[in-house]
Structure formats: C-alpha cells, structure tokens
C-alpha cells in the first residue's frame, strides 16, 4: 500500500476573489520514499503539507495516509516546522518525550527510544539544555528527534533548513539522509532550494503557482547512499540545469 495517495485535491480559500491555493493535485508516495516538493513561494507546497498533516482540511478531493482519511493531526504524521516549534519552557529531553508522555506511556517504554533518537541526531550531551541555548541547526535536530521518538512513519518537513547558514544546512541534509537510511520513513520535504531537492529526494515534484499545481515529476537517478561529493558531479549538474529550465518558463 502506498504511504500517501492524493487524488484531485483542491484547496480554495474563500474571499473576494477566492484564492485557489491548490488545484487538481495528484500524488502517490510509496512507503519509505523520499520526495521533495519544489517550487517558488506561494505555489501551495506548504499548504499541501498542512493538508497531509491535517492542520487544514481540503476543499475537495481525496487524501489518504496509509489508506486512511484523517481529519485531525496525529503522531503517525510527524511534522518538522520551519522554525522548529519547540516548547521554549521545556528542555531538550522534555521536548523529545512530550508526545509519549502526554499519551500516558510509561517512561520505561519510551526512554530507550528517546535516548537512541537523541544519539542519532547527535544531541545526547544536550538533554538538559533549553531551546534558547541551542543553535538553529541543533533546534531542528531536536525537532527531528521528537518525531522519530513519536514513531511517525510519515515525516512532513516544511523548509526545515531554510533559515540555516549554508554549512549547517549541508550537515543537516547529510544527517537527514543518514536518519532516512537507518529508519526508512516516508519523507515529504518542502523546499525552494533545487540543490537540496536533488541531494535528498528520490523524486522531485515541481510545483507552479496561482493556482498551485504539480507541474512535473522528476526522478533523481543518483545512487544511494549519497554523499556531499555527489552534489558536484556532472549528473547532478545536468539535472539541476534541466530543473532550472523547467522552472523558468
């Protein structure tokens, strides 16, 4: 069963005139697939992510996650926000275990997992730190560890590295790839950065604006696992040129 099935999905915001944020979206994502939604701001890529997360509801069409239609957010669809959205009054550890804790899970059942996920994102030594004491990249790692601890099989990431400096962004991309290699979740990654989309994704869906549509699906033929040197190969640049041409018109 595909992880995500979307058919003829529309999202219109009422008003004068109404805004057609998304029109006729068709999208299938397999379990364990890593896709990127690429497009300029205002193309509806974040709206699409919010619909999958059930932060908003579609105007019409079908949206199934693991075969089920949802009308409320839930732990099966973990979201990594642009600005991390950690609770500033909780330390790293408390943020990471927030989900299982409010569910009433016994500490013994989630502590090992939370420790493991913090280790994967490299924050084992920062459990007692408050979010304000962390750098932007570290905050996003907490955001990732938080949904991994939650056990989300679908990860929805809304330009999570957009606000980071170039070097931190690269190391976060590598970290995300290694997490994905280890745990194989389904990832939907929203970005406007072509390099980022190519480096990370199996398939790139290029979106166009007003109304928001999926204009093109691009398969990334680069082999896995990928490393940073892949971003300077001829194949990478060839693909980037193709995407640039498509985005321009």
């Amino acid at each position: 069963m595909p992880a995500i099935q979307i058919q003829n999905l529309h999202k219109t915001y009422p008003g004068e005139p109404p805004v057609h944020a998304l029109e006729g979206i068709e999208l299938n994502v397999n379990d364990g697939e890593f896709i990127a939604l690429l497009g300029p701001s205002g193309c509806g890529k974040s709206t699409l992510l919010n619909l999958i997360a059930s932060f908003e509801n579609p105007s019409s069409g079908e949206l199934l996650v693991h075969g089920t239609s949802h009308n409320a957010p839930g732990p099966d669809r973990g979201v990594v926000f642009q600005e991390a959205a950690l609770f500033p009054w909780l330390n790293v550890w408390e943020n990471v275990v927030f989900g299982p804790k409010i569910k009433g899970t016994a500490a013994s059942e989630y502590e090992d997992k939370a420790n493991e996920m913090l280790k994967i994102v490299g924050l084992s030594d920062f459990k007692k730190h408050l979010p304000v004491q962390l750098s932007g990249g570290m905050r996003q790692r907490v955001g990732i560890a938080r949904i991994l601890t939650l056990g989300s099989r679908v990860l929805l990431m809304d330009e999570p590295f957009g606000a980071l400096d170039a070097q931190t962004r690269l190391s976060m991309q590598e970290l995300l790839l290694s997490v994905w290699q280890q745990l194989k979740p389904t990832i939907i990654f929203v970005t406007h950065d072509i390099d980022e989309a190519i480096f990370l994704a199996d398939n790139i869906y290029v979106m166009s604006a007003r109304p928001g549509r999926i204009a093109q699906k691009i398969v990334v033929p680069l082999p896995r696992p990928r490393t940073i040197t892949d971003t300077t190969t001829e194949a990478f640049n060839q693909l980037k040129r193709e995407i640039l041409v498509q985005i321009r018109h």
Binding site: A53, F55, A72, P73, G74, P75, R77, G78, V79, F81, E83, A85, L86, F87, P88, W89, F98, G99, I102, K103, L130, P131, V132, Q133, R146, I147, L150
Partner: protein, 263 residues
Amino acid sequence: MKRLKVFLNGIAVPIAVLILWQLAGNMSNMAGVLPTPIAVIQGWEGWVFGEVGMGLNAYSGTWLANVQYSTMRVFQGFTLAAILGVPLGLLIGWSRLIAQVFDPFIQSLRPIPITAWLPFSIALFGISDMGSIFLIFLGGFYAIVVNATQGARDVDRNLIRAALMMGSNRKQLLRRVVFPAALPNIFTGLRIGLGISWTAVIVSEMVAVKSGLGYVLWDAYYVGRMDIVLADMVSIGLMGFVTDRLIVTIERFTLKWRFLQNH
C-alpha cells in the same frame, strides 16, 4: 567601579532634592504644611518604635500593625483576583464560546474606575474588611484577566500545531502549551494588577475601614500630622516596591527560559 558610578548617578537627584527640601524648611516656617525630611524621619521613628497607647501621640508604635493590615488586605484581594482572573483570562483567550459569554460583561464593567465602586462597596459590605478586599480584588482582577487573555491569544500557532501533531487533546493543550506560553503575559498582568491593588487598598482604607496605611494617611492629615502623612506615603511606596520585587523574583525563577532568551 562601574556599578558604583551607576549607583551614584542614580541617587544624585534624590539626595539633592532632600537637601534642598531640608534647607528650604530650615529657612521658612512652613513646617505645619511641609515638615522637613529630618522631621519626617523623627515622626516616623516614633510611629515605628514608640510605645503603643501614649495619649499624646495616637500613632506611636502602630506602624507595623497598620502595614500588616494593609498588606493582609492586598494579599487577600489580590490572591482572589489572581485565582479567578488567570484561569478566566486563559479560557476567554482560548475558547471563542467563553469569550462570547464573558468578554462583553467584563469589558462593560472594566471602564468603571475602582474609586467609583466605593459607595457601592460600602453599601454592600458596610465598614468592614470585606469592602476593602472587594475593591482590591476588583482593582487587580481586570489587569490580570486582560493580560492572561492576550497571552492565550498570542500563543504561536505552530506550538499548538506541534502539540496536536504529537497527540494532545484540548485539555492537555490548555495546560501544557497555552498556559506556559501565556505565563509572560500573566506575570505582566499580575504586576500591573498588584500596583492597582495597592491603590485600591489606600483608597478603600480612607473611606471604608478604620485601620491600615490608608486610614492613617487620611486621619493624620485631619489632625495636622504632616510628618506622619509623608512617612505613610513613603511606607506605601516601599510596600508596593517590595511586593513587586517579590513577583519579579518569582517570575525570574519560573520563566528561566525567557530570561535566558533576552541575553
């Protein structure tokens, strides 16, 4: 060295005013209207340390008792305002239905100054502690409610979304996200409310009860003890300052995450 300089800069004007005031007092015969700083301190000393029940000085030794009366009333009225105001404010900010039911009621009463409630309060409670506590409660209540409401409304939408995504129900959301996120606003409301509560206690004690710093203030004025009036004014300011510092200390302890942010 730098801190000493800042301190000296800060006390220069107050000291200059005190010296000028003392000199002006020595050179004129205004003592009945405006006693000199030294006379105020002498009067205050008797008020604080004098023996109680000396016939010639009705205030002798009664300072601490009056401070306690006023502080106790502020504590009672303000605590009541906080206990009712914080949860109500959060709920108004959080739930559209509760806002629709309570907000018009609160907003229509809020513009009535607490001083205007004095006759009503005396009619209702008579000359008693309750009348005073009622006014103090009212004084603190609005500021606390309005700020808690604002705090609940200003919660970052993504924090709510993150909590929902992790499986929070509405009750958990209110307790674990909205309440802590609103705490900075809640503390602002508590500080403003406490200030108004001190105003309310003085006003109410002038009229509605026969003890406390507000009562002494008015009574001393009537018998021409301006030294006590001034000592009383400074005492009120001092108590307001001390209780405000108390809340700030609690705030700094509770909102460690926020004070780290600002550095």
